[in-house]
Structures are given as structure tokens and as C-alpha cells.
Amino acid sequence: MANRAGGLLEQEDPIDNRDIEGASALEETLIVAIPPEDYDWLGGLNATGAARTDAIRRLHELMLRAARFKLSRMGEASRLGQARADEIVQSSADEAVVAILARLSSFEGRSRFTTWAYKFAILHTATAVRRESWSRTTVDLSSIPEPISQLGDPLTHVEAGALSDALRRCIAESLTPHQQRVLIAIVVEGVPIDVLADRLHTTRNTVYKALHDARRRLREALTAQGYIQSAEEVNR
């Protein structure tokens, strides 16, 4: 969610980058063996001086671990190369620390601090990997691709063709051009939602709303034409 992450980075109370640099420089120093879940994160991060520096170092370590974990779970990351993967892990951990410090006052203690913090590293890492993986791929946002005619059983061909035609008609007649582009890019072409948001110069939220509205309109159109049953009919 690059746009949202970017927004977080631009929030009030900017964080002095020397905090993170100082923390990185201290990474080789002794770490007191307190499990992350038992450490007083709010106390440390809201402290001043050495206590705050130590807390930020710990947080950066935690974010590095989460970023490495996320990257290891993404198949597309295997094509990045080790050097680029390491860069993404480092930058994602850095960005996560900045975002967490900027939003620290919004943490309500309704979850573990570590769970709350992990999601920032996961978001930044996943977004960076997806963006990198699609960076050399052109996404055609100008048209709906034509389904290729099949060979084989004539009856199946006719039925599938009729349904496919109905779908295309519903898409063309019921969806706006923007909804058509979003639906086809995500559902048919497999473009990740945050990558598509980048290409359309908008936000992940906006793209998901367009997709959601497209789904609803498509369902309504197919129901009206008798291709699928409405929920009321199914439950009757």
C-alpha cells in the first residue's frame, strides 16, 4: 500500500533519521535478552536519551526480522537477486520504524505491540517486492482482452461461448470504463492491487472500491439477465 505508507511517512512529528542511523550503528552491541513480547516497548520508545535509542534499536531488529520473514514467503522475491532483496529488507525495516514512531500514540494496547508492529514491516516489504516484480511489465489498461475461442465439444463450446458473451456484455454495459479496467487487470491479468494503484496514480483503497463496485454491478447485471440467482432466490 505504497500510497498509504507514503502518507504515514509524511505525517506530523517527523522522525529524526539519526534515530535509526544510531540504532543501526548499535546493532552489534549487546542485546539484553528480553523476548520482544516481554519488552516494555511503549516505555522505551517514549523515553529519551539512551533508553529511547536502545528501544529504537530493538524495534529495528524486530522489523528486520519481520521483513526478512515476509520476503522469504513471497515467491516473486526469488527473482530479485540477493543484493536487491537485502536492500528491500533494510529499506522496509527502516520505513516500518519511521511509520511506527509516527503512529505510536495511536497504539491502544488492544493487541500485542509486536503484532501491531509486524504489520508495518509486512506492508512495506510486500509492497516493495510486488512493485519491483512488476516494474518491467507493461499493464494494458486500455481495453478488455478478447477471450480466445476454444476447440472441442461443440455443445460445451456453445454454452461456454454464450456465458462468456453475456459476461462481456454485462461488463461493457454495466461497468464504467474505470471499473472495467480495474476488474480485468486484477481478476484476469493478475495485477496486484497496489501495483495497479501505482499505475493509475491512485490509492489501494480507491482501486479496491472500484473493484468492489464492479463486482456488485456485475452480479446485479447477471442476476437481472437470469444467468445467476439472486441471494433471495437461493435462500427461498
Binding site: 498509504r4 503484532t115 506492508l123 480466445i148 472441442g152 497496489d194 456485475l218 447477471l222
Partner: protein, 93 residues
Amino acid sequence: MNTQDSWTGAVLSQAFGPFEPWMSCDECFDRSDVVLDDLLDRNVPLPGVFRAHLAGCAACRDEMESLAELAAADRGIDPAEARERLDAQIRRS
């Protein structure tokens, strides 16, 4: 499955998908830690709005699954088991 079937199936699944009620990706992100900890620590089912969003947004689901695995590891829970618990909740939608 050939290209036409694939195209038709992919698009048709959008009409059948359990994507209601609406929730934004931002709200999903904001609430994901609380919802997940409730699931892992107290076996509280995912709210319906969460199940619907995760069924409809591949990126949020991917990130939530990773969060489940990381949070599980902190608790001494098998990450694969935590992920399966999450996926089972999404399949309920």
C-alpha cells in the same frame, strides 16, 4: 482449462464472491492486529466484514497470512496451524 474458460471463470467468480459488506484496505490494516490476536489468543471468529474483505482482496489476505504466521511464532504456535485457522475463517464467508 482453456483461455476462454479461464477468462469466464475468473470473471464469473467475481459475481459469486462473498465480498459484502464493504471494508477498505486501510481499515483492514488498522484493525488487523486486534482481530488476529483475538483469533489466536481467544479463538474469537473474524468479524464478517473482515472475512469478506480478505476473501476479496488478495494483497490484504497475503499480508494478513504473514502476520498470522509471525504472531503465531511469538506464541509458540505452529505458524502453519495459525495460517490454517485464518484461512478457515475466510472460507466461512
